[in-house]
């Protein structure tokens, strides 16, 4: 599990790697929230191309970050989600909260 953060202008991109489950989600949340607090980005882009598996803990992770961004009007984008992850995201209706780019 790792989260690599890149800041470019008003955009923060978080490159998430590994499985997202209840075991890993807490630390991922901490790392992403640190950079939201530090940069208050207008766009948070979550890059899922390094994520091999995600369950509903990942949905909680995305929804929680959406809530934090919404507090000040920031928006959320999700990129690089593979088939399994996309299926879980669609079930949760995450396309209503974030720009979902496959």
């Amino acid at each position: 599990m790792s989260v690599e953060i890149k800041v470019s202008g008003q955009t923060v991109t978080a490159f998430i790697k590994g499985d997202i489950d209840h075991h890993t989600a807490g630390e991922m949340r901490r790392l992403i929230d640190n950079s939201i607090d530090l940069n208050t980005p207008s766009l948070l882009s979550l890059d899922f191309s390094g994520v091999s598996f995600m369950d509903s803990s990942g949905i909680g992770l995305v929804m929680g970050r959406y809530r934090n961004l919404s507090k000040y009007g920031g928006s959320l984008r999700i990129t690089g989600a593979g088939e399994q992850i996309y299926k879980v995201m669609k079930l949760a209706g995450l396309e209503k909260l974030a720009i979902l780019e496959k």
Partner: protein, 149 residues
């Protein structure tokens, strides 16, 4: 429909075991030659059921999680995840999408994922005794030399 193979195991309710549980069940089911999507559906459903034992059933500490899987001659699989934790007061309500007793970072979608990714999900629970989740899925018929031997 008769059972042709079975495995069972138990493990401590540590979050580090979530990945292990998914991997163990999916490795067992792989003898049915499932598609990648079918194996991912099963992995996700198992992860939900096991995580619920860790997060909810044994929220006060640690306990044992009992996992078993049975394969039937019609290429279906039945997975059972059982705990001896706190139990669920109202199972029907708990299974409603977005229902959660833990605020904050939980979406309340675990049961919705299990129901959508598996063909059949049954939950039995008793307060103070524990919870049993039984999930069934048919694996598609494909040409395969190894299946069901």
């Amino acid at each position: 429909m008769t059972a042709v193979n079975k495995f069972s195991m138990n493990m401590m309710s540590k979050s580090a075991n979530e990945g292990f549980a998914r991997a163990a069940v999916s490795a067992f089911v792989s003898q049915l030659d499932p598609t990648l999507e079918e194996i991912n559906d099963i992995k996700t459903a198992v992860s939900e059921a096991v995580t619920n034992c860790i997060v909810h059933a044994y929220k006060e500490g640690y306990g044992k999680i009992y996992i078993s899987a049975e394969i039937f001659d019609n290429k279906s699989v039945k997975i059972t995840v059982r705990d001896k934790g706190c139990g669920i007061e109202n199972v029907n309500k708990a299974m409603e999408p977005l229902f959660t007793t833990v605020g904050g970072e939980r979406a309340g979608l675990g049961f919705a994922v299990m129901q959508s990714f598996m063909d059949n999900v049954k939950v039995r629970s008793k307060i103070g005794k524990g919870t049993t989740v039984v999930m069934e899925k048919r694996i598609s018929l494909r040409y395969s030399a190894n299946a069901q031997k």
